[in-house]
C-alpha cells in the first residue's frame, strides 16, 4: 500500500528534480549601479532595467522577431523572474566598476519547462495550449543550439516559495518546520518528562491525580484543529504573540504532542525495575535524586522514542497551523522564531492548490521529501530503542 503510494507520487514528482535552464552571455557595464567606491548600490540596482537586459540578450538569438506581440510571446518562454535572478547573481559576484561579460544560466518559464519534460500534450489545438507553435519552435531551437537544457533543479532546494514554479523551492518551509519543531521539543519534552516523573513517583493517589490522568489521556485524542483554536485565542489574542510565527506554531504543536510524550515517558519509567530506585533510596538518595540520577537515565531510550514519534506527528500537521496564520504565502526564508514562516505540509497544500501545472510535480517531490523525513525520524526512534533498550 505504502509502496504503491510512494511509487505513484514518485512518478509524478521525479521530474521536478530537473529544471529547464538557458544560457545567456551578457555584457554589462556596472558603472550604472555601483557607487563611487565600486560597491553595488541597492537603489540603483533596483532601478536598473534587468528584464530589458535579459530580453535584449535573448533577442540576439532570434533577430527575426520584431513585432510587439511576437516579442511578448518570445519573452514568455523565459522565467518572469529572470531579470531578478540576474540581479541577484551580479550582486553576489560583486563585480568591480567597469564593463564585464559573463555567461549565466537562467530559468526558462514553467510552460517551456513542462514542454521540455513532455508534460504538456501538444496534440491538441494551438489556442487551447499553454505554449503555442512559435514558442515551441523557439524552445527547440534553443535546445538544438545547446543553449537551453534540463539541469538539476538547485532552486528547489535553495529558495523559498514563489508564484513562478521555476523559482519556487522548499527551503523556506523546511527551515520554518525546523524552527517550529525546535520550539515544540524545547517546550514539550521537559514539561512532559517532569509531568511523567511527578505522576509516577510524587503524586499522591487521589481524586486530583485521577483527574490529571484522565485529562492527559483525553488530550491525546483531541483533534488537532482544536489546539489551533486554543493557540489563536490564548497565544495570539491574550498574549499578543505574532501571527504566522514559528514560536506560536511550536507552542501549539507542543501542546498537541505533550500528552503523547507524557504517556510514552510514563510507560518507559514504569518499565524500569523498582529495585533500581529502591536500591538508590536504600543507599540514602533522596526521592528526587533516585528519580533523576537513576531512573531517568535508564528510561531515556523509551522517552526519546515517544518524543520522536510525537515530533513526527507534529511535523505532518497543518490544521492547527491554519488558525495561527502559518498557512500563508511567504517569500522570505525565515531567520528567527518570530519571523513569518510556513511548514512543509503547508507548502505542499498550497502548491497542490495552485493553478500552474508545474506546481503539480513540485508538490509531489515535496511530498516525497516530507515522507523521507518522517520515515527517517521513525527509523531513528527504532534504532535508538534497539541500541539502548535493556532487558531486565
Amino acid at each position: 500500500m505504502l509502496a504503491t503510494l510512494l511509487i505513484s507520487i514518485g512518478l509524478n514528482g521525479y521530474s521536478a528534480l530537473q529544471q529547464a535552464y538557458f544560457k545567456l552571455d551578457i555584457s554589462v557595464n556596472t558603472e550604472k549601479f555601483v557607487d563611487d567606491s565600486g560597491a553595488p548600490d541597492n537603489n540603483k540596482m533596483n532601478l536598473f532595467n534587468w528584464d530589458g537586459l535579459v530580453q535584449s540578450a535573448l533577442r540576439e538569438f532570434f533577430p527575426e522577431v520584431k513585432d510587439r506581440d511576437e516579442k511578448k510571446e518570445l519573452f514568455a518562454i523565459i522565467s518572469a523572474n529572470a531579470g531578478y535572478d540576474l540581479k541577484e547573481i551580479i550582486k553576489k559576484k560583486a563585480l568591480g566598476s567597469g564593463s564585464h561579460t559573463l555567461s549565466v544560466w537562467l530559468h526558462l518559464s514553467d510552460d517551456a519547462d513542462q514542454y521540455l519534460k513532455g508534460r504538456l500534450s501538444i496534440d491538441i489545438p494551438e489556442e487551447d495550449r499553454r505554449i503555442n507553435n512559435k514558442q515551441i519552435a523557439w524552445v527547440n531551437s534553443l535546445v538544438e543550439r545547446d543553449i537551453a537544457k534540463l539541469k538539476f533543479n538547485k532552486t528547489f532546494f535553495t529558495s523559498a516559495d514563489s508564484r513562478e514554479p521555476e523559482s519556487a523551492g522548499i527551503l523556506g518551509s523546511v527551515i520554518g518546520s525546523a524552527l517550529t519543531l525546535f520550539v515544540t521539543i524545547m517546550f514539550a519534552l521537559p514539561l512532559a518528562v517532569m509531568a511523567a516523573i511527578y505522576l509516577e513517583y510524587f503524586a499522591k493517589p487521589g481524586k486530583i491525580t485521577d483527574f490529571i490522568e484522565v485529562n492527559v489521556n483525553n488530550l491525546a485524542a483531541v483533534p488537532s484543529i482544536v489546539f489551533g483554536l486554543l493557540g489563536l485565542s490564548v497565544f495570539l489574542s491574550t498574549f499578543g504573540l505574532p501571527r504566522s510565527a514559528p514560536l506560536v506554531g511550536g507552542l501549539v504543536l507542543g501542546l498537541m504532542t505533550l500528552p503523547t510524550i507524557i504517556i510514552a515517558s510514563r510507560a518507559s519509567i514504569r518499565s524500569i525495575p523498582p529495585s533500581i530506585r529502591e536500591a538508590a533510596l536504600g543507599l540514602g538518595a533522596s526521592k528526587m535524586q533516585a528519580a533523576l540520577h537513576h531512573v531517568l537515565p535508564l528510561a531515556t531510550p523509551g522517552i526519546l522514542t515517544g518524543t520522536i514519534i510525537g515530533m513526527a506527528q507534529a511535523l505532518g500537521e497543518t490544521a492547527p497551523l491554519l488558525m495561527i496564520g502559518m498557512v500563508a504565502f511567504i517569500i522570505d526564508i525565515p531567520t528567527t522564531f518570530t519571523s513569518s514562516a510556513t511548514a512543509m505540509p503547508v507548502q505542499i497544500y498550497m502548491w497542490s492548490d495552485s493553478a500552474e501545472r508545474a506546481f503539480y510535480e513540485r508538490s509531489s517531490l515535496a511530498i516525497l521529501f516530507l515522507v523521507a523525513f518522517l520515515i527517517s525520524m521513525n527509523l531513528l526512534a527504532v534504532v535508538l530503542r534497539r541500541k539502548f533498550e535493556k532487558k531486565w
Binding site: D332, S352, D353
Partner: protein, 321 residues
C-alpha cells in the same frame, strides 16, 4: 542529566523572555488576508513588489472574503492585517464593524473574474442559458408558478435539444466565494429576471433559490479546484463550477460552456458580455498607511499591474477595460 535539564530550562526561559519584548508582528512587513480568488493575484504582486523594491515581502493568507473582512475590521494596530482581499464588495455590515473600530477601508477594484460551467474537452461543448443551469442544479424549480422539488435527471429533460446525458455537477463548497457568486449570478438572477420573484418575504428568491440539489445530481467538491479539473478529465459527463483562471490554465483538459450565447474568454468577461462574472477588490486600512512601510507603494503597485498585458492578466485576472 542535570546539565541537560539546566540547558533546557535556560532555553525555555530565554525564549519566553525574548518574546516579551517583541511587538505583535515584525512591523516592517505588510500583512494581507482575504479571498482565495484574489490570493493568486495578490501573491504575484507581493513577489514582484518584494523583488523590485527594498521593502520586505508581504505575508499573504487565504482566509476567504468573509474571514478576511472579519480579521481586517477587528481593529487598528500591528495585531491586525493591513489589507484584505475580496471577491465581492464589502458588505454594509462589515463596513459598520470597521467604522465601529475606527477603521477606514480604502477600496481598490482590480478587475473581474468569470465563473465557468465547464466539462472535459473530449465531450461535447454545451450551449446553455442561465435558466437551464438553474434547472440542473437548484434544489427547487418553478412549475406552474410554484417552487417544487427538482426532478430533472438528464440534460435532455431540461431541453430536448441537449444530449441525453445524466446531470452530474461538481459545485464548490458553501465556504467559497465562487459558490456565493455562482448562486447570486446564476440562481438568484434566474429567479429574479426569468421567474420575476419578489426580493423580500418568505417566497423571496433569496430564500427559495439558494440551495443546490442534494439528490446526487450535484456533488460538493472541496476548495481544491485542481481536483475538480482532474475529476472532469476522468468523467466526460460531469460538469464543474470554478473561476476563469483555472479554465485558462487547463484549456488542454476542460472547456467552458457557452452561457446565454457567450463563451467565457478574457474579452467577453472584460466587456461584460459574458454574464457570469464578478468584480474583485482589495481594501487597505487607511490608518496603517504611513505606519506600515510600503503600504501605499504596494497599493499603487497592485493597481499598476491590474492592467491588460500584465502578469496578472496572464494568471487569469480580467482587468478593467
Amino acid at each position: 542529566m542535570n546539565n541537560i535539564l539546566k540547558i533546557f530550562t535556560a532555553a525555555v526561559v530565554g525564549a519566553v523572555l525574548s518574546t516579551g519584548s517583541l511587538m505583535a508582528r515584525e512591523g516592517d512587513q505588510i500583512s494581507i488576508v482575504g479571498s482565495s480568488t484574489v490570493f493568486p493575484f495578490s501573491t504575484i504582486v507581493a513577489e514582484r513588489f518584494a523583488k523590485n523594491t527594498d521593502f520586505k515581502a508581504p505575508v499573504i493568507e487565504s482566509t476567504g472574503t468573509g474571514g478576511g473582512a472579519k480579521l481586517f475590521c477587528a481593529g487598528i494596530g500591528l495585531d491586525h492585517p493591513d489589507v484584505t482581499n475580496a471577491s465581492r464588495a464589502m458588505k454594509s455590515s462589515e463596513k459598520e464593524t470597521c467604522t465601529a473600530n475606527g477603521i477606514t477601508p480604502v477600496e481598490y477594484m482590480i478587475g473581474f473574474d468569470g465563473i465557468t460551467f465547464s466539462n472535459s474537452n473530449k465531450a461535447q461543448k454545451y450551449s446553455l442559458t442561465k435558466e437551464e443551469i438553474f434547472k440542473a442544479v437548484s434544489a427547487k424549480i418553478m412549475s406552474n408558478g410554484k417552487m417544487v422539488d427538482n426532478g430533472y435527471k438528464r440534460w435532455s429533460d431540461i431541453n430536448p435539444s441537449l444530449p441525453s446525458v445524466k446531470i452530474d455537477v461538481l459545485a464548490p463548497p458553501p465556504s467559497s466565494g465562487t459558490r456565493d457568486a455562482f448562486v447570486e449570478l446564476v440562481m438568484h438572477d434566474t429567479c429574479k429576471k426569468v421567474y420575476k420573484m419578489p426580493k423580500k418575504g418568505d417566497d423571496g428568491y433569496k430564500a427559495l433559490c439558494s440551495a443546490l440539489r442534494e439528490d446526487g445530481a450535484v456533488t460538493e467538491a472541496g476548495e481544491n479546484d485542481n481536483l475538480i479539473i482532474e475529476k472532469l478529465a476522468a468523467n466526460q459527463d460531469r460538469f464543474g463550477i470554478f473561476g476563469y483562471s483555472f479554465l485558462d490554465q487547463n484549456k488542454d483538459k476542460v472547456q467552458g460552456s457557452v452561457i446565454n450565447g457567450v463563451a467565457p474568454s478574457m474579452g467577453t468577461i472584460a466587456d461584460s458580455s459574458y454574464k457570469v462574472s464578478r468584480p474583485l477588490f482589495f481594501y487597505v486600512k487607511k490608518e496603517h498607511v504611513g505606519v506600515v512601510p510600503g503600504l501605499q507603494e504596494f497599493s499603487d503597485y497592485f493597481m499598476s499591474l491590474a492592467v491588460s498585458g500584465s502578469p496578472l492578466e496572464a494568471a487569469g485576472l480580467i482587468p478593467k477595460p
